[in-house]
Subunit: 125 residues, 2 copies
């Protein structure tokens, strides 16, 4: 696994937004690549397994991926208009999640936190 995986990874590196498999496929084909959609799905899976890309689900259940700058735990602020994404962290949220879990006798706490909004550029029109 390498040729294609690197190509997919590179596409993600050059995008500030979360991208779907179809999305990436369309772009790569437009750029002249002969890559197959199946290969893209496999590359995204591998990259995610290796912790090199983050994944989240859109409201309609589609998986979208992003190559974040850090591999450390963090969250995202995503523009609903253009998809522009900023990596953010929230120490308070981490603490809160642990505490609320513990308060109810839950262990092995994890959490998902995503913030959405309209970025300044999209707000202008």
């Amino acid at each position: 696994m390498s040729r294609s995986r690197d190509a997919v990874h590179e596409i993600l590196r050059q995008s500030a937004a979360f991208r779907s498999a179809q999305d990436i496929f369309t772009e790569m084909r437009a750029d002249g690549s002969k890559i197959g959609l199946t290969t893209i799905y496999r590359a995204l899976q591998a990259l995610n397994d290796d912790g090199r890309v983050d994944v989240l689900r859109t409201d309609d259940g589609e998986a979208v991926y992003r190559a974040c700058a850090t591999s450390a735990h963090h969250h995202h602020l995503v523009c609903r208009g253009c998809g522009l994404t900023v990596e953010v962290d929230g120490p308070d949220v981490e603490v809160w999640a642990e505490r609320v879990g513990a308060e109810h006798g839950f262990t092995a706490i994890t959490h998902t936190v995503e913030v959405f909004g309209t970025c300044a550029a999209c707000a202008k029109g």
Copy 2:
């Protein structure tokens, strides 16, 4: 829209966990109902539109629904083992989300926050 929608709503009321359409379908059929899967999807959609049920996506993209006690904004603490769900709120998280959005020039901020863990019962085995 009424007969079936109420039946589906009732199933959800009696469950502490988030349930999928298939899930509900299987239970209702087992109980002798002649309801169709399509009708369940439509009922869940309608209930969600009316703000009577919450929806979230499992890791594999399946939509699951829950009739929460409150219709006010809140979040969930979900057991990965049995699905037991507790409604929680986090004023700090609300503030944090707004602030992090504003700091980056984003407007119309919304957010998704879910906490997962293993409940006390499931932890025992």
